[in-house]
Amino acid sequence: MTEFNKRYLEFCKPFIDAIKEVYSTMMGTEINPQKPTFKDGKKSYGDYSSIMGINGTYEGGSVQKKFKGSLVLSWPEESYLKAASAMLMEEFTEFNDEISDVGMEIANITMGNAKKILSEAGYLIEMSIPTSVHGKNHEIKAQEKVVTITTPLECKFGTFYIELSYEDYEA
């Protein structure tokens, strides 16, 4: 495994742990991560995606790098509605303004928690503000020409997806 791949994997794991913690604490639901795969293209697997840009610096021993990438969470409509209902403690059966930023908040908390773990491993991330895209077959511009790993996440609300793009370069 190359040093880059090691860093990529080390970088991804805290995000999976963080989203598991968000679902467990705020929705009382356990997540089972499935096999990660490299993503081909930038088309979303879901109907709703929340996106956070990632910028930061890495310092590990004598290695110093800058890195950039993105965190994307994508939900098919049904799993989004069920997650929003659990999180807000009321039932939603269709997408509306009231639940339009649930995904962004989940991304925000996931990033904040992963950021803490990563800071202890030498990755210092600057916190950003999440954005969202909604609609069938939408594309994620942040994933254009960047290596992206998709991990399906199964839970009782259905499957949704966490996608991480990461690239580093000389500081």
Binding site: M26, A84, D101, N108, I109, N113, M127, I129
Partner: protein, 131 residues
């Protein structure tokens, strides 16, 4: 200073989702007089007006990471303003690094809660502010 259910409270978060969750949790705890604002920049004039009207907010619950005015900047403003500088202030944050904790403690936060959290955790944090 025990929890007064009629305490005038403001919940500040740019995400409607988190405002709703916190407001619901506060109501479950017993709070009845809860206002909301969608950014520190929106909340600050509300806090000033409430003070000028003679009915200041008695408890501020604010997110940290907001686009226009952060919770930390709002906390610094509150702590620097005569008449409201002692207002109990609970910071809600997704960032739990030690360096961030030090920043809000130095700025005079009353307590902070790290997202994600359960209703019991929020209640414990509030009870430490109003023992």
């Amino acid at each position: 200073m025990p929890i007064n259910p009629n305490m005038k409270t403001i919940v500040i978060d740019d995400m409607m989702t988190m405002r709703k969750i916190i407001t619901k949790m506060l109501k479950q705890i017993g709070f009845t007089n809860v206002s909301e604002a969608d950014d520190g920049a929106t909340a600050w004039p509300m806090i000033q007006q409430a003070q000028e009207s003679g009915e200041p907010f008695e408890f501020i619950v604010s997110d940290w990471n907001m686009p226009k005015m952060s919770g930390l900047d709002l906390l610094i403003k509150v702590r620097g303003t005569e008449g409201i500088k002692d207002t109990p202030f609970l910071m809600v944050t997704a960032e739990a690094e030690q360096s961030n904790v030090v920043k809000v403690v130095q700025a005079g936060v009353s307590n902070f809660v790290v997202k994600p959290f359960k209703p019991e955790t929020l209640q414990e944090k509030i009870e430490k502010i109003f023992p």
